[in-house]
């Protein structure tokens, strides 16, 4: 609130006359000598409709009280309770005369002011001496608290606001690409799926599910992969001696299994020549027809 400007006009205001409330602080009536004027001069004629607007500008009884106090350049702590109560009641009366919708809170405040005033008429001894017991203390606390947030609201309103004070800077990006992320799967999810499907299979089809040595299965895939790019691979090259005896056995078992399933052929150009391995799936020649029989027989 621009107290300076307000003081210039409001100081010395005689009680009894009804002063007009300020319009919202951020909307001064005029700028005089660089100072915004937020209070109408008292001698200016105000049509009743405009009066209504001013009265409606109050955000409740605390706002009205605060206005009455500030208009006289008084500290919130220095409330002349009788004077303020009288002025407050005049506003209430005016609001009622203008048929403004008067919230119950205004009347509640009127009652509170009247109570404070009456308590202050009593001799001190009757309301127990002590500073906290001043009947105005609670009102002062509430006024101060309200005023803090009234100010805070004004501060927030002054912050740079997007699309009012500042603008998000944007520039078009043509040929925008969207990356589609792939779902995540955990090993556990897959295992649970496997367990379920195996369980179902056993339940409904009495399919005998036996555990197979994974290492042999793995090696079977490995061998097929090795055969993928070359027509013939030397039999001994499929073995990795550094894997030791177990590794060699696994590879051999994998080769036998692949042979049994008809996935590979083992060929030999002549007796005692090196053995070669090839994929069996490409050309259907006579030897492969034999394999088919073997597979179906097993």
């Amino acid at each position: 609130m621009t107290e300076h400007a307000e003081n210039a006009i409001a100081t010395g205001a005689e009680s009894g006359a009804i002063e007009l409330p300020p319009q919202q602080d951020e909307m001064p009536f005029a700028i005089v000598d660089g100072e915004p004027i937020t209070v109408m001069p008292r001698d200016l004629y105000i049509p009743p409709q405009a009066l209504e607007v001013f009265l409606e500008a109050f955000e409740g009884p605390l706002d009205l009280l605060l206005y009455l106090i500030r208009r006289q350049n008084l500290d919130v702590l220095d409330i002349p309770i009788a004077d303020i109560t009288r002025q407050y009641m005049e506003y209430i009366q005016l609001m009622q005369e203008l048929d403004l919708e008067l919230a119950g809170e205004y009347l509640l405040m009127a009652a509170m002011l009247a109570e404070i005033k009456s308590r202050m008429l009593l001799p001190r001894s009757q309301f127990d001496a002590g500073e906290e017991d001043d009947p105005r203390a609670e009102l002062v606390r509430r006024l101060q608290e309200y005023e803090r947030f009234k100010r805070a609201a004004e501060d927030i309103d002054r912050l740079d606001r997007l699309d009012r004070d500042v603008y998000q800077a944007t520039a078009e990006l043509t040929n925008r690409q969207v990356i589609r992320l792939l779902p995540e799967v955990t090993l556990q999810e897959m295992l649970v799926a496997f367990k379920d499907v195996v369980q179902r299979a056993t339940m409904f089809e009495h399919l005998h599910v036996q555990r197979e040595t994974l290492s042999v299965r793995q090696r079977m895939s490995d061998v097929l992969a090795m055969l993928e790019n070359s027509a013939l691979v030397e039999f001994v090259k499929l073995f990795r001696p550094e894997e030791g005896r177990l590794g060699v056995c696994v590879t051999f078992a994998a080769l036998l299994e692949l042979l049994r399933e008809g996935l590979i052929d083992v060929v030999q150009a002549e007796p005692y020549a090196p053995l070669h391995v090839r994929r069996a799936d490409r050309n259907l020649d006579a030897s492969e027809l034999d394999d088919v029989e073997i597979t179906t027989a097993s």
């Binding site: 409330i79 009788a82 004077d83 809170e105 101060q144 609201a153 500042v166 800077a169 990006l173």
Partner: protein
């Protein structure tokens, strides 16, 4: 990628995205192997901020990350680009917002206690729709009233990095000397007070 290239990429990202980007998002522009260190990204951001000094845009950090924005001094001429004027918010809305921002989490009842008037449901709805406030829980008292708090969008909208950056709240005056000052005030006032009630009060207090 050197700092200059990184600076350009960040500018491109901020302008193309049109919303604030945080450190994770900026570093996330890169494969893990190429991902720059946080310190490097900060260095590039600083370089970008410096470069903007000669330009009509500025780099600021808000709650959701960094944002390139057109400086406030251009707001007046640029307002002609839009037919609609930006909305004004009522004092009631701003006061309610201030209470939620400074006192969160807070119930409607607590807001009413301070403002002395009922909370207008439309105000709460407007702010919720704008994404500025949300229900953050319920107070464990009869009726389990909703506790309201502000959102990251609220901070972004007002260009704040965190609630700490809100303008500081005026200090309450010390209540201890309220009583004394009240007495002084009334004594001083007695001369001008024209109502018998006030004088009576003076005489007896």
């Amino acid at each position: 990628m050197n700092v200059n290239q990184l600076k350009n990429l960040i500018e491109a990202a901020l302008l193309a995205y049109g919303q604030p980007l945080n450190m994770d998002q900026l570093r996330g522009l890169f494969d893990e192997v190429d991902r720059p260190e946080t310190a490097t990204v900060l260095e590039a951001l600083e370089a970008l901020a410096r470069e903007c000094a000669d330009r009509p845009i500025e780099l600021i950090e808000v709650a959701s990350g960094w944002r390139l924005q057109v400086r406030g001094e251009y707001a007046a001429p640029l307002s002609r680009l839009w037919q609609e004027r930006p909305g004004r918010y009522s004092r009631a809305l701003l006061e309610t917002l201030a209470l939620i921002a400074y006192r969160q989490p807070i119930t409607r009842g607590e807001i009413e206690n301070v403002r002395g008037v009922q909370v207008n449901p439309n105000i709460v709805r407007t702010m919720t729709e704008r994404g500025w406030i949300r229900v953050v829980g319920h107070r464990e008292v009869p009726g389990h009233p909703e506790l309201l708090g502000t959102t990251r969008e609220f901070l972004d909208y007002f260009g704040l990095k965190s609630l700490d950056e809100l303008p500081s709240l005026a200090a309450l005056k010390d209540m201890d000397d309220v009583g004394i000052r009240l007495e002084f005030a009334d004594t001083a006032q007695a001369a001008v007070a024209d109502l018998p009630a006030a004088n009576d009060a003076e005489a007896t207090v």
